[in-house]
Symmetry: C2
Subunit: 334 residues, 2 copies
């Protein structure tokens, strides 16, 4: 069943059928009605490949997600898709391996699917070079600011990682903690980790806490196991610590388990806090103290920005959305 069959049955030319399919106004009401009837009768749907081959442009937004395991991404992604579809855009999700180059993949996707825009969830800062403009479509980086190394066609929506991390340090300080340790991602590749560390450092210096990042900041993968192992390293190196700030909730969960396995209770012996504000944290025992990233709000702003870039050729914007400190039960007040 092709457009040709529909045309024959309706008694019109294929061009007219195509116009109906594309909501082109230059069709008489009778023709439109008749053709729509035939289309409905056969539940005809035009061949997307042929359509794209001609149009060289789809109506969709490509979303490239690094890793299938990131619960924050899963949440943001869901909201992004809802926002896109509310705005009349379809969305296509491409999961890639953590080790893959997301920009390389975007290039391939743009060639094949001709999306109107590309959203990145998860990024390796090294991959984002000015060559991104070659994609020829507006791009959006989510949960991660691109303001520090601006690229013409790359917008971003994130919380202010620097300020959020500092806020958490202030909170720990206010609860009486003085021996605070940090667990985060690898600084070369993870822009948010670098930003959060810098927020912590500025809070430390403001509060008069001395902290030598080179020897104390503990790098790990953003996984349960990563958090677990980093915590073990810290316990060996810093047995007097009273609080640990992990730069993700998942790492925090790993850290808590490690503490428990070493006979330390949370928060009675050591306090732990995370970052992201996953729903899961509210179900843990103890409930996790964390920084909540507002998934819904971020998705809403992200899609709005991207569509402005697509439809009105607006310049790239780097927007910050407010985070929220969620007090759980995992931080002890001295």
């Amino acid at each position: 069943m092709t457009i040709k069959d529909i045309a024959r049955e309706a008694g019109y030319a294929v061009g007219t059928v195509s116009r109906v399919l594309n909501n082109n106004p230059n069709v008489s009401p009778q023709a439109r009605q008749r053709i729509l009837e035939v289309i409905q009768k056969h539940k005809f749907q035009p061949n997307t490949n042929a359509r794209r081959l001609k149009q060289q442009q789809s109506q969709g937004i490509a979303m490239i997600v690094k890793g299938t395991h990131n619960m924050l991404f899963a949440l943001v992604l869901e909201k992004l898709q809802a926002q896109c579809s509310a705005a009349g855009y379809s969305s296509m999700v491409y999961y890639i391996d953590e080790a893959d180059n997301e920009v390389e993949r975007a290039r391939q996707i743009c060639r094949e699917h001709k999306p109107r825009g590309v959203v990145f969830l998860g990024s390796n800062r090294e991959n984002f070079t000015p060559q991104l403009t070659e994609l020829g479509v507006p791009c959006l980086l989510m949960t991660n600011t691109a303001a520090s190394q601006p690229i013409e066609n790359l917008s971003s929506v994130s919380v202010d990682d620097v300020s959020a991390a500092a806020r958490m340090i202030d909170h720990l300080w206010a609860q009486g903690h003085r021996q605070i340790e940090l667990i985060g991602g690898f600084l070369e590749s993870s822009q948010p980790s670098a930003a959060r560390l810098s927020g912590c450092l500025s809070a430390f210096s403001r509060l008069g806490i001395s902290y030598d990042a080179a020897t104390r900041y503990t790098q790990a993968r953003y996984t349960l196991e990563g958090g677990y192992k980093a915590m073990e390293q810290l316990l060996a190196a810093r047995p007097n610590l009273t609080a640990v700030f992990a730069f993700s909730d998942i790492m925090a969960i790993g850290a808590i388990r490690a503490l428990q396995d070493h006979g330390l209770r949370v928060p009675q012996d050591v306090s732990v806090c995370g970052f992201d504000g996953l729903e899961l944290g509210e179900y843990l025992i103890p409930r996790l103290t964390t920084i909540r990233q507002p998934a819904e709000k971020m998705a809403e702003r992200g899609v709005a920005l991207l569509i402005q870039c697509i439809e009105e050729d607006a310049p790239a914007v780097h927007e910050l959305v407010p985070y929220q400190l969620v007090e759980g039960e995992s931080v002890l007040r001295f």
Copy 2:
């Protein structure tokens, strides 16, 4: 940059370039080498839409995943993709809403992308009717058996839910539990829930435990909140319970939190066990006792079966893979 440009530059006709691109043996070594050079020089990649329009068939496998939040699916999906790519197939992931009809979506995907096979992660049993054969490609249902209502082109790989659930009941019994309650999914739509319940019932009757499913089996969504609320219902209705078997780890986590909020400790006051065997369970406090579904093994078998159906037109198979009871710390021995 199209095949035409390559042909001109290499001094051959487009047909020859196409043959090189498709590894057609009817090309002289010189021609192949020369054309490959030009292709590499320009990093040329053929237009997928044009290719598919002609071929009417891609080399990919479509994976339709219900919901972005299922951690078991995320894990299985990752393994499936690795297996596919090892077998020379590309894979394309389509996330759909829990409420959407996955078979309807598969129909659309088949029309547009012409995959060689379709994998379903998550399914509403009502949607799987014999009409599935209309898709015209082999299908595979993962983590969920389709043996009970066989469809010609639908294979499945899963653990034996009936036996696994019975095994868990036996375990609880062996630990001294006599007041066992169940939390699971909705029976009309969730085939695994129905199977697990039936396994529990047969174990109950074998052990001489009386259990009226109609009044005691507590249905919930497969979410943290679902498990939490179901647990609260059970506490109200069955205050003497000593153990709860939740049909997913996520539900179990919700249930544990609910118990805690009602002043009951796990496992000292109430024992809880789950199903799925997520990595997360090993990091919880207490570690979760659960049934592990072997994600890697399932993915390996699933892809192998599907490829046999694709390449050798093999009939659909329903395969069971072994589960494993993982003893954590969430079940008390009396």
